[in-house]
Assembly symmetry: C2
Homo-oligomer: 389 residues x 2
């Protein structure tokens, strides 16, 4: 699906998009599978209880009611938040191409900021003064070259990157609700970003960010961006997770090096050893993006190609799930365990058609009996999980 094919939803249709993604056990990938199988969210909502029941869900699946979704839409209007569906104009192009793009994105601020070519800048919360200075200068120079700077509004590098880019457009991707300022000292920054750029989130308004939300948020920073620059990151840090998402998503990964004696440089140095591009300045980043910004004017996404992995029609890699029979369901259930297994392996070992395997996994996921892991892998859940939203 590209921009030319998008059109604004009616309020009624948007309500169904919101209801489906806010329903139990429905994540972005399941959402896309359901949309493909049933054509629109309303039909998918109708089918959900039966799908979940078939795979042995212990109790009736909890659907988001019209009243709940209407309340969220009303709260969004009051807060000045726009709820933007994946199929609508203005939804960020780069993000739309991801297989797990949020079906509905909450946007505070200027939609125009989401239409610019974007570079992510992320790094340590406990950043050094030098690291903050570097992040701020990189952001200022990249913004001056016409790029939007995306980050996570966390303490340290993220804050320095947003501040460096302002008053030019910068995009804050929040792990909680778009209206929830975290950390609290960034209230003024939150206000400035919504004035000069945009604050976005996939969680419902009012959601207080929790640890499990951060990896999901990080995939949006990289997903929005042509490339991600990591400035100061320890080994085994959240910034490295963002960098790995970026690599998996076909984005450029850049890292600012540092002395081996500085533990805050360990993650960046490791990324460089693994193939990330060493950068010391915005010029290095622009060169790594193929001379973007050389023209010294704002560039629209249309002005250059995204990496081939990015702008794909929906659904990107999944074949349409087919209706499975009981025997097939049993064979696949038997195969799944606590250790995540790749869908390809399930297909190979069962010799079932991939569409049937996807059909069974879709039902099991909706029933809360399997959990999806990165890399199209699935593990059995031995207890019914809480609603992840």
């Amino acid at each position: 699906m590209n921009e030319a094919k998008t059109k604004p939803l009616s309020d009624e249709a948007r309500l169904d998009w919101l209801r489906l993604i806010r329903s139990e056990n429905v994540g972005p990938v399941v959402f896309r599978q359901l949309l493909e199988r049933y054509g629109d969210p309303a039909a998918a909502l109708q089918a959900l209880p039966e799908l979940a029941r078939r795979a042995g869900g212990k109790r009736r699946i909890r659907l988001c009611s019209s009243a709940e979704a209407e309340a969220e839409m009303a709260a969004a209007r009051r807060a000045g938040v726009r709820l933007l569906a994946l199929c609508e104009p203005g939804y960020p192009e780069a993000l739309r191409g991801l297989e797990d793009a949020p079906p509905v994105l909450a946007v505070l601020g200027n939609l125009a900021a989401l239409g610019l070519s974007t570079v992510g800048i992320v790094g340590a919360r406990n950043a050094s003064a030098n690291g903050r200075r570097l992040a701020g200068q990189l952001a200022a120079d990249l913004a001056a070259a016409g790029l939007a700077v995306a980050s996570g509004m966390a303490r340290g590098i993220d804050t320095a990157a947003h501040r460096g880019a302002l008053p030019r457009p910068t995009v804050a991707v929040l792990a909680g609700g778009a209206d929830v300022v975290y950390p609290p000292e960034n209230a003024a920054l939150h206000a400035e970003i919504r004035r000069d750029g945009a604050v976005i989130a996939e969680m419902p308004l009012g959601t207080v960010p929790q640890a499990r939300h951060f990896p999901r948020r990080n995939r949006l920073i990289s997903g929005l961006s042509l490339g991600v620059v990591v400035v100061e990151a320890a080994k085994r840090s959240g910034s490295l997770i963002t960098a790995r998402f970026a690599g998996d998503q076909g984005r450029e990964v850049f890292a600012v090096p540092g002395s081996p004696l500085d533990p805050r440089a360990g993650g960046c140095n490791q990324l460089i050893r693994e193939g990330a591009t060493l950068v010391e300045s915005a010029a290095d980043v622009l060169e790594g993006l193929g001379g973007l910004g050389r023209a010294e004017r704002p560039l629209s996404p249309a002005a250059h190609a995204l990496p081939p992995a990015a702008p794909r029609a929906l659904p990107p890699v999944l074949s349409a799930p087919a209706e499975p029979g009981d025997a097939e369901r049993a064979v696949i259930e038997e195969l799944l365990g606590a250790e995540p297994i790749q869908v390809d392996d399930v297909v190979r070992q069962t010799t079932l058609p991939i569409a049937v395997v996807h059909g069974v996994l879709l039902e099991l996921e909706l029933a809360g009996r399997v959990e999806r892991h990165p890399g199209n892998r699935f593990a059995r859940l031995y207890k019914a999980p809480a609603n992840p939203l």
Copy 2:
């Protein structure tokens, strides 16, 4: 030529090797060409005056006399310096493979140190305390893994590397004579290295190092080594020259990264961007050398393959120079100018056989009328040069 084919020279033969390399306009490459054309140094010495005259040398070429060479050999004996010819056992294997390996090497200390697998560590003279600490630790760990550490005994990183390796074998490659301590404060270090490792040089004993000697010396550090580690180096520094030699010689290039805010890291970061391996520890270096030292015992050069570029028979890349006629000499002279030109280009533009081109260039070099530049390039000299030795 490999170790098995080498044999010690008689004192008489060594005298001729020394006379030939100490004669005017004879550098290591010309030495090899002469050896190949005339079979041994004595015959080459006889032919030199006529070769130089043919190419229009303004005055008779100055040969090193037997008396001068005997005086150098006597001085070497008194100083405990061994003069080792390229064709003799004990000459470092890795070095022997270079097209411009010194025909005669002065060695103070233990020949055994030259038989170990070697890693070069080089860097800034005005190194930071952290840089010295890193260089020392790298050297200590590499030496503990059984490798000899080669460096240039300069202030800063070089000194720290030698000190870190001691009392395990380390090799100091001097730009002046093997007996000339420079910088003066390193007198104690010089003594320790000759006791526990080796000090080597290609210049005559007593030569005080000058700026123009350093690039020549740097090629020996990398030539001795399987790889070179650069610790703290500014852009456009001598350490980068060593790193480029290492790359040209087919050696691994390693660099320790640093903050973009630290000017002493600029050269290392640039090397990494150009493809050098980022290293933070000796383990990274050992991994980059293909697991060398994993066995935690001293490794002889025979225990693993050198890079393919290294261990070549003499002469490595030059076709034997042929005797040219006057017309061919005139055509080639006409083509040469102040800007260095590649031998390949001379061949292409004149359509003369490469052996004839080499023959003319050999004569012109001996006549002091052309100068050899790195990368097999030649430039016309418009004034007779001073004897470079």
